[in-house]
Amino acid sequence: MSNKTKPSEEQLKYASVLQKVSLGGLALLVIGFFVYLSGVLPTIVPVEKIPEYWGMRVHDFVEETGMPKGWSWLPLLGHGDIVSFLGIILLAAGTLVCFAVVLPAFLRKKDTPYVIIVFIQILILLLAASGIITGGH
């Protein structure tokens, strides 16, 4: 690859962090799922009961099962169904981590338009992740 076609420093940094986070997320997803299925940890909803609920709308599912919404799963980390959720959380958080890592690179280059874009993007993702905004009933 010649110097002209070599990706920018921030692009390579983003790629490197994204690779690590997504691999970690996928590994955690699979491990967490097997922990959930193995039954070694207690569950909020037993895995064999899930089919009774998966035809329901999510609002009714949460109401009937008492499954946590937003970040209220944090104190319930000892449960199998929550452990199986951790990989999903890490995968969803990966992009946010990448943006936090590349922001200083754009700042160093005094690339104002992209500093603003990345900063707003971080705020948007934080807002989505916070659980402040949700749809539904």
Binding site: T5, S8, Q19, I50, W54, F61, P113, Y114, G136
Partner: protein, 321 residues
């Protein structure tokens, strides 16, 4: 074999696929309905069937050159007993993990472009949050009807959209100049470095409002829309457009996925087998691609997608299922 005979054979394959598909979707719909009412199928069979199904879907998606994310929601919501809310949550995760796996390699090789993706991603991800909120708030039949209509529109786009390997951009627009969106990449097929720039950036950005909204509302990957906008409208080379579209999905779908996660609409029992099946299937699909006849497979997949869209539309309208 003569050209006319080959055409007749291709048409025959598509017609047979459509007939089998119609029968399959009708039967699957009945099975799914029976399960909702309490069938004798052992519960753990569904995740196993889902894994096998998404594995096959992953192979077909690669061979046909169609995004797995766009196939997942309409087909799984037709074939399986899960509520559309959970199917959309899993669909977003399927599209997201696919994009996260491919993204780093595409960025490192300089095919996906960060400067091109970030402004589009900001608009698309913001709108995908609103799409997800609206999708979870509307009654299921309304979302199902809109999904069906959207899928049929996507089929039309897939069947008719042209692509341009190296679109001609005589002069970049003011916004892309300010944002310094341009690049050089090595094109292996012609053995030389290609300079590229884009135009019509404001119009492209405004289209990402709609693309993001639909991705969030229906839990679909949005490659079917990203690529034509990046390639035909903005004028980015095809390889740059496809790679940047995949990377873009990792940001758009992340934002929408958070809404589904926080709402409780991502069930690991549905999402994990789907993600695993699709990822394994796409890896096998890449190997099969060298020996397969992508055109015939593409038409079969598009036919199935059309049928799944039609079923979603009729189901939403209360006519079928």
């Amino acid at each position: 074999m003569s050209r006319a005979l080959r055409r007749f054979f291709s048409l025959f394959v598509v017609v047979v696929a459509v007939v089998i598909g119609l029968y399959g979707i009708a039967s699957a719909g009945e099975v799914a309905e029976a399960t909702r009412k309490g069938s004798t199928i052992v519960w753990w069979m569904w995740p196993v069937i889902l894994f096998v199904f998404t594995f096959l879907l992953g192979i077909l998606a690669v061979v046909a050159g169609v995004g797995g994310g766009v196939l997942f929601v309409p087909i799984v919501s037709s074939f399986f007993p899960f509520n559309l809310d959970f199917v959309r949550g899993a669909g977003l995760l399927v599209a997201l993990t696919g994009a996260l796996s491919a993204g780093p390699g595409l960025l490192k090789r300089g095919l996906a472009n960060l400067r091109l993706a970030l402004p589009m991603a900001l608009i698309a991800s913001t709108c995908s949050i609103f799409g997800a909120m609206v999708g979870l708030a509307l009654p299921t039949n309304v979302v199902q009807t809109a999904l069906g209509a959207t899928i049929i529109a996507i089929v039309v786009i897939m069947a008719t959209a042209k692509r341009s390997d190296f679109p001609e951009v005589k002069k970049p627009d003011a916004l892309s100049t300010v944002l310094r969106i341009s690049g050089i990449y090595y094109e292996e097929s012609v053995g030389k470095e290609i300079n590229w720039q884009i135009h019509r950036t404001p119009l492209g950005l405004s289209l990402f409002i709609l693309i993001g909204f639909m991705a969030g509302m229906f839990g679909l990957g949005a490659g079917w829309a990203n690529v034509p906008v990046l390639n035909l409208l903005l004028g980015a080379p095809l390889k740059i457009s496809v790679a940047t579209s995949v990377f873009l999905l990792s940001i758009t779908d992340t934002a929408a996925a958070w809404v589904y996660i926080n709402k409780g609409a991502v069930l690991p029992l549905i999402a994990v087998p789907s993600v695993a099946g699709m990822m394994l299937g796409t890896r096998i699909g890449v190997r099969i691609l060298a020996r397969a006849k992508p055109k015939a497979v593409k038409w079969i997949v598009i036919s199935f997608l059309f049928l799944a869209g039609l079923r979603a539309l009729l189901k939403g309208l209360g006519i079928w299922g």
